[in-house]
Symmetry: C2
Subunit: 448 residues, 2 copies
């Protein structure tokens, strides 16, 4: 089998039919791209699961899979959300995220925990089309068209309807003031416990096909008007109406002792300033919200949800008022401190990878097999916890204090430190600033 | 050791000192949260690496780690970027992402490949502070303060300076029109081949401490003015000046044959419309950009980079003109079709997990051990490739055609299909629409 070829144009090697090769063949072919092919093969194989069936499962999640990329699967205990106790599964490569979530969870579990409520659960999809004609005619046929769209997508919606979801609303949107001849069918969906991407896209593609036939056959339209061009039919990952709120609340004096250098009132004042800064300055808002998604994405990864969809929606939501801004808000009334997050979260607890990935399934079990709404409240609470933890560090000791300590072990591993050396180093750096240069120097001195 | 306790408040079990427990103890304790503790323990242990030292490495990446969460490590071959051939490592759970990247790469490798250039590499950090006094006085002492900031952070910057990076600019920003007494030191950094978060944060925290001392001791300030309050010192994940551009270009006739139902001109027209829609409508823009980050994040995960930072920066950038919009742009001049992406990417090829995670290290080797700038060009090109692939599907056959086919194997796995059954099913569904219900029905019939 010829799998590599060159072209006249570029004189470069291309690989032909790669996806059709066996995994073994793929690994062998790719190994040639390394200085030491045998070593590359060894590394790729080292992370294969010993059980062939188990490995096959992971191989089939994607295409051209050569190995498994390990991420640490950890837990943050002691979360109280709506008076219920959770141990939160988190998958994340950043060393301080689980620690920060755990520490915030502990703090708030002693102060009533997190309160969280789902505000709405609607998702949106659009059929974008180009059409030359009189808008009034389209509007006139809409009631009949809607009926046909709903009837014609019956075979797709039957299961979802049974589960209490389905198509909620179909609207014609005139976008011709933005671009000539541009219209949308804007559709609201309820997808209950599934994220619903496949369901929504299948409905919309069916709608596009029905729309085209409907217009072509309707007597109201003249020949020119019968020519409709479907640009695309696709769900929107922006889900401002699939929204959840999480909050914590306590008396300001409860912050006394949170830091040796300040009392509760000073802490609350600084915290409030820090949040207001994130509302004012997009440079700060980006980092502020990034800390929220550290938590949310960790749970998304652990439960087999699509973090790119979550990120895209959340950040667009953060920019909805024309200036990218904080997703959280402080309010201080008298001595009561309230901190809240509002974030769109389109997630699922069935479908997709949620039950196919063994550890995603385990994660959901650990959470008590929540429905999608409960998972929204959990994720929002974890996001708020991580953000609270980050701000707490920032307005007191600074972020590096905790962060670098967590990173110390990683740096020590870089130098191949033994268990004994690690223990000594952790002790040594307990009251010192950690930097790569300082740890390097420390290790070098120790090993002299 | 007492590790669980209840509180009067909530009557709920809390776990005390969890992080101090051994991994074995943690797993045993957590297993009690499952209906079948023995099964939970078995699943968590099933994904441990057999080599204890290797496992320890992954355990120490984060806190409270119980197991490894596997993500498929795959590759997309045949990328030509700036006339260089790459096999791209991608880590992603979404089945169609690697396939879409590979298919776009193949298409463009025959048409000159991707061109990509780094436009800028500056990162920003801020010391946010509250200060009551005359701004003119602050401005007056800035030259001297800058000198002290730079001299005083010498021990942090020495290595970075040696590598060609360091502090580039320090600016006083008056933010009092947004919030009373609010000022910033806004600092530009060059961090060369490291993402630089720890470096920047360490510098900024040192700056905060120097600033405080400087103001308190400077004769120009009266007693009231000596009272400065540092709110926080932290890098910004928003990096509009760490920017990369990627583009592809071809003659429109090159699109002839890309789809059986349309010629190259119709394809280009539809594609152009689709991109303009993403520029007009935030609902579409979110999904459009999400497809870009499918590609970028896959490479970020594979190379040990922080995808939350990348997402946050990219989406804020997409909203910079007051309305969330597309990151890509089409231009058609005569018969020449040009498609480009501009995206901020603050990434590293040294530091962090890049060399600590064995597969991140392998990924970078597969890419030829690029520096950070080259990695920016690679990621941007992969992002553009994934976006092109998504739009190509959307404006031709629709996204579900390819997507559901990829998903078919996952659904079959859900029903525990054998290899034989899978082969038959793939054949059967080759010309049919795939839906969960239809596959369920198919499997049920087959097994009657």
């Amino acid at each position: 089998m010829i799998t590599e070829y060159t072209t006249q144009q570029s004189d470069q090697k291309f690989i032909k039919g790669f996806s059709k090769l066996s995994k073994k063949q793929k690994i062998e072919l790719i190994s040639k791209y390394f200085k030491n092919p045998a070593y590359a093969i060894e590394i790729l194989k080292r992370y294969h699961h010993e059980d062939a069936d188990t490995q096959k499962l992971f191989d089939e999640f994607s295409e051209n899979t050569l190995s498994n990329f390990y991420f640490p699967f950890g837990v943050a205990p002691n979360f109280v959300i709506n008076h219920k106790n959770y141990v939160i599964p988190m998958v994340i490569e950043e060393s301080s995220v689980v620690a920060a979530a755990s520490s915030s969870a502990k703090f708030w579990s002693d102060r009533g925990g997190f309160r969280s409520m789902v505000l709405s659960t609607t998702k949106i999809g659009q059929v974008h089309f180009s059409w030359k004609g009189h808008r009034e005619k389209l509007e006139k046929v809409m009631p009949r068209l809607k009926e046909e769209l709903i009837a014609g997508s019956d075979h797709i919606t039957i299961n979802m309807n049974r589960r209490g979801g389905g198509i909620r609303e179909i609207e014609l949107v005139d976008m011709t003031s933005y671009m000539e001849n541009y219209y949308q069918l804007k559709v609201n969906f309820e997808t209950v416990d599934s994220m619903g991407a496949n369901f929504i896209n299948s409905c919309l593609e069916e709608f596009a096909s029905i729309l085209k036939t409907f217009i072509a056959n309707h007597e109201l339209f003249n020949d020119d008007e019968k020519d409709i061009s479907i640009i695309m039919a696709i769900l929107s990952n922006y889900t401002p109406d699939c929204l959840v709120r999480a909050e914590v609340e306590c008396d300001i004096t409860e912050f006394d002792g949170i830091d040796a250098a300040m009392d509760g009132h000073e802490f609350a004042w600084k915290f409030d300033r820090a949040v207001r800064i994130a509302q004012i300055d997009p440079h700060r808002a980006t980092t502020h919200n990034k800390g929220i998604f550290n938590g949310i994405d960790s749970v998304a990864l652990a439960t087999g949800n699509d973090f790119r969809a979550i990120e895209a929606s959340g950040h667009t939501y953060a920019s909805r008022n024309g200036k990218y801004s904080s997703l959280t808000e402080v309010s201080i009334n008298g001595n009561t401190f309230n901190y809240s997050l509002e974030v769109p979260l389109a997630v699922g607890t069935i479908g997709g990878l949620t039950s196919l990935h063994p550890l995603a399934k385990l994660s959901l079990e650990l959470l008590g097999n929540p429905d999608a709404k409960e998972l929204m409240t959990i994720m929002a609470s974890v996001g708020l916890a991580n953000n609270f933890g980050a701000l707490k560090s920032l307005v007191t000791k600074g972020i590096q204090h905790g962060h670098m300590k967590m990173h110390l072990l990683n740096i020590l591993n870089h130098f191949g430190a033994t268990e004994e050396e690690k223990k000594e180093a952790v002790h040594y750096f307990a009251d010192k600033k950690v930097s790569f240069a300082r740890v390097a120097e420390y290790v070098a001195n120790k090993r002299k």
